[in-house]
């Protein structure tokens, strides 16, 4: 048996070195997020000079009235700030949910959509638009639709035998997702082509341009509620990446743990999608990049995915609202930005995921 490990010994130093490097990576990710948010705050279609922005921030902080015109104040504090916050929330949700699902399904090609939450949310929103319901109902039905879709998948998977629970979940998710997707297509066909169909199409393409503080007030508690169990289970989730037999032999209540993780990840994804529409690619690529930086161990992967996801969506959304004269759909940007960057990273990296 070796002597008691002290920090001064060689393995101890190596341990510290690695921990230090991982801490650095996390710090850099946090700095990137902050930088992206600040940059996004300063640019946009409405001309706000950096000096004016600074004046406005200073006025807020010191409690004095702002010297800026009302429209500019509105732009800075009631349009850009909520939008950046929403982008951060959506990115964080999708990043963490993606990391959790990839670990749980033991596959780096899994995205949070795999159990059909996006299809369910899309169908809910499309139906609400078709029926002419108010905006709050559109978000609400989208949220409910996302949860409902996954609930159906879990129900189906629990009825089918114990053959390979993970595979059954995936297949049920694919089937339910396809079914709900067909429903979306049907709704699009029935929608009025000049009024409703564009609204449905834009919702499905995703975007943060209509985000208000009210949306944040609903999404933030849902996100925190979902993050809490994932945070508490951040080490236990690693056990789910083992085959079920091994995890059970190690003392894990595998089915319960899996259910809890699915529920939490679905809740945060549904809340994000209800607010922003369907945004692909974030939940797939961000955990991948995070894994290249800090490894697959979930208690380290989770904060990294959270920060990177938030930064990524803020950057993509900033581009979406400044690149072209019209607003570009967010999912187009996340794919256009994410895919090449991901390929570059893969080419550079010599480690396997």
């Amino acid at each position: 048996m070796g002597a008691a490990e002290g920090v001064g010994s060689a393995p101890g130093r190596a341990l510290k070195h690695h921990a230090g490097r991982r801490g650095l990576a996390l710090g850099l990710a946090g700095a990137a997020l902050l930088g992206a948010a600040l940059l996004s705050f300063a640019i946009g279609k409405f001309p706000v000079a950096p000096a004016e922005l600074w004046q406005s921030i200073w006025a807020r902080v010191s409690g004095t009235p702002s010297p800026l015109p009302a429209a500019m104040e509105a732009v800075v504090w009631r349009i850009r700030l909520p939008r950046i916050a929403a982008g951060a929330m959506v990115g964080a949700s999708l990043g963490v949910a993606g990391a959790a699902f990839q670990g749980m399904f033991r596959n780096p090609l899994v995205s949070p959509d795999i159990l059909g939450v996006s299809a369910g949310a899309g169908l809910g929103a499309s139906l609400a638009i078709l029926l002419g319901w108010p905006l709050l109902a559109v978000s609400g039905l989208a949220f409910a639709g996302g949860l409902f879709a996954v609930a159906v998948v879990i129900l189906i998977a629990s009825r089918v035998g114990e053959h390979d629970p993970v595979l059954v979940l995936v297949l049920a998710g694919v089937a339910v997702g396809a079914f709900l997707g067909a429903g979306i297509s049907l709704v699009k066909l029935l929608a009025d082509p000049s009024v409703q169909l564009p609204s449905i199409t834009f919702w499905l393409l995703g975007g943060l341009n209509a985000v208000t503080v009210k949306d944040l007030q609903f999404a933030a508690p849902a996100l925190l509620l979902a993050l809490l169990p994932l945070f508490l289970l951040r080490w236990r989730i690693n056990l789910l990446s083992l085959p079920d037999d091994e995890a059970a032999a190690l003392g894990t209540p595998v089915t319960r743990l899996r259910l809890g993780v699915v529920a939490a990840a679905t809740l945060m994804t549904a809340a994000a999608v209800a607010m922003s529409g369907i945004i692909g690619w974030v939940g797939l690529v961000v955990p991948h990049v995070a894994r290249l930086l800090v490894g697959p161990e979930f208690s380290r992967l989770m904060p990294m995915s959270l920060l990177l996801g938030a930064a990524f969506v803020i950057v993509a959304d900033t581009l979406a609202r400044t690149l072209a004269p019209i607003e570009l759909p967010l999912s187009v940007l996340t794919a256009a930005v994410g895919a090449p960057f991901f390929l570059w990273l893969l080419g550079r990296s010599r480690r396997s995921t």
């Binding site: 946009g44 279609k45 409405f46 001309p47 009302a70 429209a71 509105a74 732009v75 009631r78 349009i79 850009r80 939008r83 108010p134 905006l135 559109v138 066909l189 029935l190 009025d192 082509p193 000049s194 009024v195 564009p198 609204s199 834009f202 975007g207 341009n209 209509a210 208000t212 609202r321 072209a324 004269p325 019209i326 607003e327 759909p329």
Partner: protein, 339 residues
Amino acid sequence: MLRRREGLLALAALWFAAPGRAAATALIQLFGKPAARVDRVFAAGPPAAVLLYVLAPERLLGWPMNLSDSARALLAAPARDRPVLGRLAGRGSTVGVEVLLKLQPDLILDAGTVDATYVSGAQRVAEQTGLPYALVDGRLADSAQQLREVGALLGVGTRAETLAVYAEQSLGVAAAARGASTAAWPGVYLARGADGLETALAGSINAEIIEAAGGRNVASVGRGGISRVSMEQVLAWAPDWIVTQDRGFFLQARTDALWSALAAVRDGRVLLAPDQPFGWIDGPPGLNRLLGVRWLAAHLHAGQAGGFDAVAEAQRFYRLFYGVQPAREALQAMLDGRG
């Protein structure tokens, strides 16, 4: 500008009047040969339905779009009670070809922006079903000609002429208002959707009413189409007027803290276009907009047109085009967002 168009039309008429071809004019493309008497007409899409309804409502077989009860209340019998049959729009059709064959209309009428895809689609349907298919091109500015040509096709020339004169007057009102004013055209933001953050860009068929009324579409990027915008963009555009057909948005925007950052909202320059039975500015983008042109122009160029009684004009339009006589209160309620 009208003269140049007439000149072009004359040239086009010469070109298309070649012997052996069916009676095709610059705006109508005809596939198949309609019978002498066209009694039963299938409207392929909402603009065609409106066109058919105003010219010859008794020949309408059914509606290609859903009509609410309140919309039907503002339509004349017997068209009011006709069923919803679905639309014919290529891949996006909701009426089956077999249903069409069962109905055996004397003519299929379609109206809207015509491109090569649409033309080939119409040809295909005509060949498949053996039913004559009339495809009517033209935008808002061509309304008078559309009315005359389709009227000739259907044999209701007199009525068509009455409506065409009204159309020319409507479109002329805006031109006059434009001409009389030396000021820059007022900027108009067309707010669509429940949150008002969807708009039709300049050049889009859904927004052409703005130009027709003598306004300037603030969303002058790209070449048409519908797109989402952010509140920030709308603030940057700083429109003089906001026009919407969405009642929910109209009621909410006037008191919304964020929208009140716009001068247009603070000064009460937000207009709600009624949408029953058909929208005054869009939905569908057809002849139903002729009333909206006058109404919008009167607001945009207040002072030029003298006192404009929107409700009286609406009553006149509804009587002339739709064959119904709604009460003043009902129309006023629609304009105020109450009904």
